[in-house]
């Protein structure tokens, strides 16, 4: 989310750390006593979680209702018959595959390019310990917190001048820089603790810096790099302000921008609107399901190093 200039978006910053849940002391290992208060508190936290989950469920059941079904049964009943026209209608109206591809292409390119730039920067700072590295890091860190509005108009002007306005590459270039500011910060500290013996050994074997970077450092840091790659991808997918400003024509829009643009359109009936929200939810839910384990594994691997 939002992160930094962008990457510090709230939504963005939550590398979910794996939590080790406490192991019970031996004498408690069999069924600890639960009293009435325990059950009561449990009901309250489950109720809270239900409250968080309910909006998702409401969107799901209403996306498969016909407008008349909705008018008769209201928003809380289950559909009397499964109705796919809302989803199909919206899918076609926004040309959803095209928007998916735009989002996928932008986020994928940003993730790859930003990781490469981060690796170069972190190699110079963490391994090379170049002079002035503290200032470079401070610079990147401040950049992480800047609001995007502070660069928005000049960027708009510049990309118009070079003919990349309304071109996905404008967004790719901007987010590559934004995400790599965060990545540099993170990787520089990871590389800074890199086992010295490994690099020395490679160096004694006559490997050049370039070879050491690609043959030694990158392969060994792969878990951290793949976590960064996934974060960059999801953060970029979720971005809104910059894609909204730079991708004005329909054919270039990303999923969140395209869906937001059609809200309030008079052709959108109530269940089609619900279906539009559903189509916005699904990709990120899929990422969550696919990457949940990778993320946990990646961070654990980094932590045990």
């Amino acid at each position: 989310m939002s992160t930094t200039i962008a990457p510090v978006e709230p939504t963005a910053q939550k590398p979910s750390k794996p939590t080790k849940l406490p192991r019970q002391p031996k004498y408690l290992e069999k069924k600890p006593k639960k009293n009435f208060t325990d059950w009561l508190i449990l009901v309250v936290v489950i109720g809270g979680a239900a409250l968080v989950a309910i909006p998702f469920l409401i969107i799901v059941i209403n996306s498969f209702k016909s407008p008349s079904d909705y008018a008769n049964g209201g928003p809380l009943s289950f559909p009397t018959a499964l109705y796919f026209d809302g989803v199909i209608d919206f899918w076609n109206r926004v040309n959803f595959p095209e928007k998916l591809w735009n989002s996928f292409f932008i986020s994928g390119m940003v993730a790859i390019l930003a990781v490469i730039i981060s690796v170069f920067n972190a190699f110079a700072i963490g391994i090379g310990r170049v002079r002035g590295r503290v200032w470079v890091l401070v610079l990147f860190m401040v950049a992480n917190t800047l609001p995007q509005e502070a660069m928005l108009y000049p960027l708009y002007f510049m990309f118009k001048a070079v003919g990349l306005y309304d071109n996905v590459w404008s967004v790719i270039i901007i987010f590559t820089v934004v995400q790599s500011a965060f990545g540099t910060y993170l990787l520089a500290s990871v590389f800074g603790t890199f086992p010295k013996e490994v690099i020395e050994a490679a160096s004694l074997d006559g490997a050049s810096r370039w070879t050491i970077l690609w043959r030694v450092i990158v392969p060994i840091s792969r878990p951290t790099l793949s976590v960064l790659l996934i974060f960059f991808f999801i953060w970029t997918w979720n971005e809104f302000l910059i894609p909204l400003t730079f991708l004005v024509s329909n054919a270039n829009q990303t999923v969140p921008v395209a869906i937001t643009a059609l809200q309030g359109d008079r052709l959108m009936d109530v269940t089609t609107t619900s279906a539009s929200a559903l189509l916005g939810l699904i990709p990120t839910l899929i990422f969550f399901l696919i990457f949940q384990r990778t993320l946990t594994r990646g961070i654990t691997a980094g932590a045990t190093k």
Partner: protein, 320 residues
Amino acid sequence: MATLLTTGVKPGRKRPEMSLLPGVGKSGFWLYLIPGLALFTVIILVPLIWNIYLSFTSYRGIRPPEFIGLDNWTRLMGDERFWTSFANSAAMIVAMVVIPTALGLLIAAILFDLVAKKFGGKLASFLRATYYLPQILPVAIAAIVIGWILRPENGALNTVLEAVGLGSLARNWLGSPDTALLSIMVVLIWVQIGYPVVIFMAALSRVDPELYEAAELDGANWFQRFSAITISIIRPEMYVVVLTGTIAALKVFGPIYALTRGGPGDSTIVPSYYAYSEFFQSQQVGYGATIATALTIVVVALTIVFILAQNRSERLENER
């Protein structure tokens, strides 16, 4: 961000001056910084300075900017709309920092201390994932989801209210000035609540159970243990959550754009939306740049204050 704040530049710690590669000078490493720094200069540094310059000009996007000194800034100080937008930012901070941090602390403690121990770790993990779910959405989509529930005609919330006999409370939530801001806040609470839950649960696993047992033997009740031990141990995470949340709250844009466009009236206007509308709707680029610069100053100042406060509390902790 956790790493960002804690493993960052720590004053006073000695770091090796030599590169990790033996036998070579470090001058060659500068080459690897060139692409990153060049891009950074073009995409961030130059636009940032350019934007600050624009805040001293009258510029409508067509003819070249005309230098007008401090006019935009004096106008800004007297601009009621601008102050409303910052007051609304305070509401965003309540919704993204105050409420989620307080609730998140409570939920994390319950999940970790009670649910995981007495009802099983699987249930605790499942509930944590549920609370976290809205965090993964693009925030504009999250806003559309809640906005759909708050629809005025036949909306889910209004229907429920009528069903339970509270029909008089039903209203046009996003369309009336007294509830629109509240509705936006609900979106943000929903989005943000999972973030502190996940971070705090990870932090709680650092707490040494023996400390707890010792305190328990000394007769401390759960609340005393929680406030004396837990809070002080997870303080670094609290700084991170509060700092990142506050910065995010000051930058809120997506939900406003998707749901209210700052309205009705100015009831939900925020600085970033105000700047955006000056840039691209009113074509008052100079004034928009002034708003954006003011927002930037606030964000950067807050970041510096937080980091200084964090370093200070770490130092105090170490001296103890």
